[in-house]
Symmetry: C2
Subunit: 211 residues, 2 copies
């Protein structure tokens, strides 16, 4: 592209470094910002700097927080005998939004992916083992995705944690609520039949999620 | 969404104010920035501030520039008897990229759109009339889009400029180079037949655009 302003070019270069944003979109965003007033652009720019300088990983669980220990870990009303292992901060948000879980979390920061060069050492797995050794929770829930990488990571964690006297569980896989059986894929359907639950449980769960 | 950090929430709010970026994408971008080093985020943040504080509209043509007069207007080798009227800075870039045009531009900053409350007064039309009065160019090319709004604006400009002794032309509408006739829409095809050009011209143009 042929820029008439080097500051515009620099801004477009920087914006297009963001994932999923190409040069054309970056130019559209830069031109949008040029039309905004100075305060709006200043506010965006400050928010990005503050994001990087003020947000920490919780020292206990790896969740993002403005403090050393996140609000969930610091909350005395949460059940600290239950730890749900998730891949990402977004998974914490998603589970918190359901309002169904009152335990703690452990954020791995990714899943094992040899293709992307991510091994166990790159993830917050050491800190999970330390945490389990020190606080001996009653149950650990594996809340990772059902991708090949997610399943591999879950199995790795299972092997690492099998020696402890802790209940290890995984979030249920099955037909999504509201889905028709005929459209479900074979693997999911097979799993949901194998891992069927007593009907009474399923009624209670429905009522809970409606409450 | 349930943010565990108010700085993260603020950054996501600010990013999602950008056009075409929703909360989920904003969160993805914010988490990406958190994984970058401080210099990268600082550099993005500075580039956005510099964009707003250092980039001006050219006082002559409305193109974006780091100076009061843009490089194109300031270039003595360009033909100042030819002015191409375009909607947007991106159109200037697109035409410059062809390398086929050596005249000047006039950037309107939009097109007349009653639906969006944009009338002639909101556009750089007054400055175009002043420019024409002062420098009397030989030809003005209307290079606006073929949308309803673009055509309306072109017609408005035509009425305003018809009194001057200037050749008024519009960029050619027709079948795009490389397109099959059968897939062209009726209106375009009809126009390309009505506005047919002598075959010799069309050969020369092809050779030029290949050169």
């Amino acid at each position: 592209m042929n820029f008439s302003s080097k500051y515009l070019e620099k801004a477009v270069d920087e914006i297009s470094n963001l994932p999923g944003i190409g040069k054309k979109t970056a130019l559209r965003l830069a031109l949008h910002l040029l039309r905004q007033d100075k305060e709006a652009v200043g506010s965006l720019s400050e928010a990005l700097l503050a994001l990087k300088s003020k947000v920490n990983e919780c020292q206990k669980c790896g969740n993002l927080s403005d403090h050393n220990i996140c609000e969930i870990c610091a909350n005395p009303t949460r059940n600290d005998e239950l730890i749900c292992v998730v891949e990402d901060v977004r998974d914490v948000m998603a589970i918190e939004n359901t309002g169904q879980y009152r335990g703690l979390y452990h954020v791995l920061g990714g899943v094992i992916s040899p293709m992307e060069g991510i091994g166990p050492a790159e993830l917050n797995i050491g800190s999970l083992i330390n945490r389990v050794e020190q606080s001996t929770p009653k149950e650990i829930i594996f809340g990772l995705g059902t991708t090949m990488e997610g399943e591999t990571t879950t199995f790795y964690l299972y092997k690492k944690l099998a020696g402890f006297d802790i209940k290890l569980s995984a979030i249920a896989r099955g037909i999504a609520v509201g889905d028709q059986l005929e459209y479900a894929d074979e693997v999911t359907l097979a799993r949901s039949i194998t891992n069927r639950v007593p009907y009474e449980n399923s009624i209670t769960q429905n009522q809970n999620s409606r409450a």
